[in-house]
């Protein structure tokens, strides 16, 4: 019988969220993976700007998409002015 017998005061009065959702890797939602063609990229950063997951990294001139989080929505594919972001099937990579 799973009695709750630990000291009730061992539990807080309220639970507050203190940790970040970035512990949750949403990359496994993807069925399509966006790939940036570095040669064609102009460094405009529009993919970074429009990403709903805020998972585009601007460290280098050519942005890199963090595959731990990318859900494969395709907004970067649709919005890139140089048309240099392409979808490939997730399983192919």
């Amino acid at each position: 019988m799973p009695l709750l017998d630990e000291d009730p005061r061992a539990y807080p009065r309220v639970m507050v969220a203190t940790r970040s959702m970035d512990e949750n890797h949403t990359g496994n939602w993807r069925t399509l993976r966006p790939v940036i063609d570095a040669k064609a990229c102009t460094g405009c950063n529009i993919c970074w700007k429009q990403c709903p997951e805020a998972c585009v990294d601007l460290t280098d001139k050519v942005p890199s998409i963090d595959m731990d989080y990318c859900k494969g929505c395709g907004i970067c594919v649709a919005e890139c002015p140089a048309h240099c972001v392409h979808f490939v099937p997730e399983s192919a990579s």
Binding site: L4, P8, Y11, R13, V14, M15, V16, A17
Partner: protein, 384 residues
């Protein structure tokens, strides 16, 4: 300093003396004057806190949810339909463990419309997680507001201070108003550990799994149990500082009584007059006035009763399909208690007069009846 005050005004003074930081209110008969008194204090610079006249009671309690989570000491007053309208938020702030203090001026619920005193409004909020204390004098109202802030902030549960509509809210009684300095010594500032603060980017109230929800409620149960002790301790401390002590129960001439009138609210003082009249006739009558309703003072009640006792419970409220609420709770608290019987009387709904004579008749009827309890409530009214 002695002043002649209505219950509503005494409540407002209590909130002011407690250094309430945010008060949000909405008018409703017969609680309106609490709100108006605070508005007047605010306009004269006598209320340094924030004062907001919201557009509904649901919004009143939601605003206090916000203000209390932001770390402010908060207060409001309402009645009847106003209380009912904020129902979902009452659950919310209790679960959020916020020490909000609220006056409820008892008034019957519609349908049909009725403005007068009836306890069903506050008692029917018994499952929300709010503490509830029932007052029988305007002095007690002011004192209980001050004590409630202290108790609420210790156990982190909201507290409802209840007074009868019109009978207390609008009647003038002498009240000893403590000095600000004395109240400050009794009630330190509110300093919650967790609050909304740009230095602390935390989220309150997120989606929570069953296993955690269960344990949070269990913690609430532990804090409600602590509240039973807190009511006694703070009540004694108040007595030491201000000369008037309080507890969960208020017995009167019960030492050798076997049949006891059990009452709450303003009827408490009427019952003392009835007990005195019965005693004058040589009858061993006593009155037990219950101050605390939540947490229900089960431990104190179990310690109080003796085998052979008959409790004549006077309920100025009604839970349809069950009966008077105090009687129901008393029976539950005393189960199993062989030799103690609980006789429920439902009367005074919608503000009907509960007179000294009626209470004497109730007492005599219970005193004459056998110990075995009468399961259903007996309905009576003052025949005048």
């Amino acid at each position: 300093m002695k002043k002649v005050l209505s219950g509503n005004h005494a409540a407002a003074l209590g909130a002011q003396l407690a250094r309430t930081q945010v008060s949000v209110g909405y008018p409703i008969t017969p609680a309106t004057q609490v709100f108006e008194a605070l508005a007047e204090m605010k306009s004269k610079g006598e209320f340094p806190g924030e004062f907001i006249a919201a557009e509904s009671e649901h919004s009143v309690m939601a605003a206090l949810l916000g203000a209390s989570t932001a770390g402010a000491r908060t207060f409001t007053a309402t009645s009847s339909h106003g209380l009912a309208y904020m129902h979902e938020v009452l659950h919310w702030v209790a679960g959020a463990r916020l020490p909000i203090v609220m006056i409820d001026v008892n008034r019957a619920l519609a349908a049909p419309w009725n403005l007068w005193t009836d306890q069903t409004d506050s008692l029917s909020q018994r499952d929300t997680g709010w503490m509830q204390t029932y007052c029988s004098t305007n002095q007690e109202v002011l004192d209980t507001v001050l004590m409630s802030f202290k108790i609420a902030e210790r156990v982190m549960l909201p507290s409802m201070v209840v007074l009868d509509g019109f009978t207390l809210s609008h009647s003038y009684e002498p009240v000893d108003v403590p000095s600000q300095a004395d109240v400050d010594a009794f009630l330190p500032p509110f300093r919650p550990e967790l609050k909304l603060d740009p230095e602390q980017p935390i989220t309150f109230g997120s989606l929570t799994q069953p296993k955690d929800y269960l344990r949070l409620r269990r913690r609430m149960a532990a804090d409600m149990a602590e509240a039973e002790d807190a009511i006694e301790e703070v009540g004694r401390e108040f007595g030491e500082m201000f000369g008037r002590s309080y507890g969960q129960l208020d017995p009167y001439r019960c030492e050798d009584a076997e049949t006891i009138l059990v009452t709450s609210g303003a009827v408490g003082s009427t019952a003392r007059a009835a007990v005195d009249a019965l005693r004058a006739k040589g009858l061993k009558a006593g009155n037990l006035r219950l101050r605390a309703f939540r947490p229900f003072p089960a431990k104190a009640l179990r310690a109080f009763v003796k085998p052979g006792m008959k409790l004549a419970v006077v309920d100025r409220n009604y839970s349809p399909g069950m009966g008077g609420i105090w009687a129901q709770e008393i029976k539950a608290a005393l189960y199993p208690r062989p030799g103690v019987s609980v006789h429920g009387y439902v009367t005074g709904l919608g503000g009907g007069d509960i007179t000294v004579e009626l209470l004497q008749e109730v007492w005599e009827r219970v005193d004459d009846s056998p110990v075995a309890e009468v399961p259903a409530a007996t309905w009576v009214e003052d025949a005048r």
